[in-house]
């Protein structure tokens, strides 16, 4: 078998530029975790069904497992590592998840938080019903949903005020 062909790509992640060589089939998720040591973004189903790998591309929430790394060259990527401020202050959604105890095992949490930040920004966190609908793409196998909804509701109020 011949060695796989790699291509050079340049990614902008959390405001920092990264240059790397990848096979064209490498997903953004694998590039983040295996090549750039940004392991906050989680691999759950790897099939676009669970939302654990949610990141932002140009400010919009997407699934890193169904995005090729090569495809997002030239776009701005934000991961869970990029939410915290330089002085260590947590994002309002991160703080609300802690305060509301919105997790058990924590594996889905980075994806939940990235999704919630976008959900609030989109204006889709106006009621518990709306939060449940627009957070439906993030599964929690522990079943922490009531606390997740409470955290998103709290953060939405804080962000909007």
């Amino acid at each position: 078998m011949t060695s796989p062909t790699t291509i050079p790509i340049h990614l902008t992640i959390n405001g920092h530029d990264h240059s790397l060589e990848v096979e064209p089939r490498v997903t953004l998720l694998d590039a983040l975790r295996d090549r750039l040591d940004l392991t906050g973004t989680k691999k759950g189903c790897d099939q676009g069904q669970c939302g654990a790998c949610t990141v932002h591309v140009d400010g919009e929430r997407v699934l890193a497992c169904l995005t090729l790394a090569a495809q997002v060259e030239g776009r701005s990527i934000t991961t869970i590592e990029g939410l915290v401020e330089a002085d260590g202050t947590l994002h309002a959604v991160q703080a609300a998840f802690l305060e509301q105890d919105a997790f058990q095992c924590g594996y889905c949490t980075p994806g939940q938080i990235m999704s919630a930040v976008a959900c609030i920004r989109e204006g889709h966190a106006g009621s518990d019903e709306e939060i449940r609908e627009y957070m439906a793409g993030n599964l929690c196998r522990c079943g922490a949903y009531p606390h997740i909804v409470a955290a998103v509701r709290q953060a939405a109020l804080e962000v909007q005020s």
Binding site: P24, R25, G48, L66
Partner: protein
């Protein structure tokens, strides 16, 4: 996932040329294609990335109707004010589909190219027989677990269900797919399985969806998409209906009616028999329930999907009554 080469297209013409080569496939949002590549179903040799092409993502809505650029995202069309006011069923079909993340990724053109979710089709390692994947190899679904399979438009070769929502609303309102110069009705764009289930769309190598247009109509303006499913959100339809109604000036007689079904057929399914039975009639519940039974004329079940034959007419009737009650 087998490796492939990656090419970023710089113009629609270059994309079409590259995509015409053997083993090449167009890549837009990637939500179907990369998923199927991971399943071992799609095995492209080259992916031609069209997601960076300019000018193909515009959404125009006016008196004539709507023009949706092929690269507009599902979320952009679902949230567009003109679509929400003139084509509510289209907006509702979109936001009830998939998840917020997937709607931000998936393009409108790619949405029409979505493949079936038949679990036998998606699992080549365990189920080598699939006429859709390997023509002539047989169908693992027939005689298998069929709860999610089609009851309308099936053949002896394939009973895979068409899983999408948007196209159901599009066929109800006579939308057109633009493949560059060539145009096809959305209804004709989707093919019945017949003896060639491997062909799902009337698109040729080297062709690319550039636009979808929907003519304006009073029925589209007063329309609903009703989706019934096993869980409340982020789930494919057990049965769904896109319905649009235009009433006469008396406010109770049906002048125009559009009905299309999702979740029950091998392609987006226009239910013209229901439409014809109710046009010119007064909109009242008994007549609507009787006419809605025509939606499943000719339906064939394969055991576990029998419930769809009972469910679909109820979904159609509820959607018609709900749309009729709209202001």
């Amino acid at each position: 996932m087998r490796d492939f080469s990656y090419l970023r297209a710089t113009s629609p013409a270059a994309a079409r040329e590259a995509a015409a080569l053997p083993g090449a496939m167009l890549l837009a949002g990637g939500t179907t294609l990369l998923d199927l590549a991971k399943c071992g179903v799609a095995e492209p040799e080259t992916l031609v990335d069209i997601s960076h092409l300019k000018g193909l993502d515009t959404i125009e809505v006016g008196e004539h109707g709507a023009r949706l650029g092929a690269l507009a995202k599902m979320s952009q069309v679902a949230g567009h004010e003109g679509i929400k006011s003139r084509f509510p069923a289209v907006s509702e079909a979109l936001w009830q589909a998939a998840s917020a993340q997937i709607r931000n990724m998936a393009s409108i053109g790619g949405n029409l190219m979505q493949r079936t979710r038949c679990p036998y089709f998606r699992d080549p390692a365990n189920f080598p027989a699939c006429n859709k994947r390997e023509p002539g190899s047989g169908c693992s679904a027939i005689g298998g677990v069929t709860r999610g399979h089609a009851v309308l438009g099936t053949s002896e070769a394939c009973i895979a269900m068409y899983p999408g929502d948007l196209a159901v609303a599009l066929v109800a309102f006579d939308a057109t797919v633009h493949l560059g110069e060539r145009q096809l009705s959305v209804d004709d764009f989707f093919l019945l399985p017949g003896t060639t289930p491997e062909r799902e769309h009337a698109i040729q190598p080297g062709e690319m969806i550039t636009q979808i247009s929907i003519p304006a109509s009073a029925a589209a303006r007063r329309s609903t998409y009703l989706k019934v499913r096993d869980r409340q959100s982020y789930e494919f339809a057990a049965a769904s209906a896109a319905v649009g109604i235009e009433l006469e000036a008396d406010g109770r007689t049906i002048r125009d009616l559009r009905v299309a079904l999702g979740g029950v057929a091998t392609k987006p399914w226009r239910a013209r028999a229901v439409e014809e039975a109710l046009k010119g009639k007064v909109l009242e519940e008994d007549a609507v329930r009787r006419a809605s039974l025509l939606a499943v004329e000719g339906a064939v079940d394969h055991g576990a999907n029998h419930y769809k034959i009972e469910l679909a007419p109820r979904v159609v009737a509820r959607a018609i009554l709900k749309t009729g009650a709209m202001a």
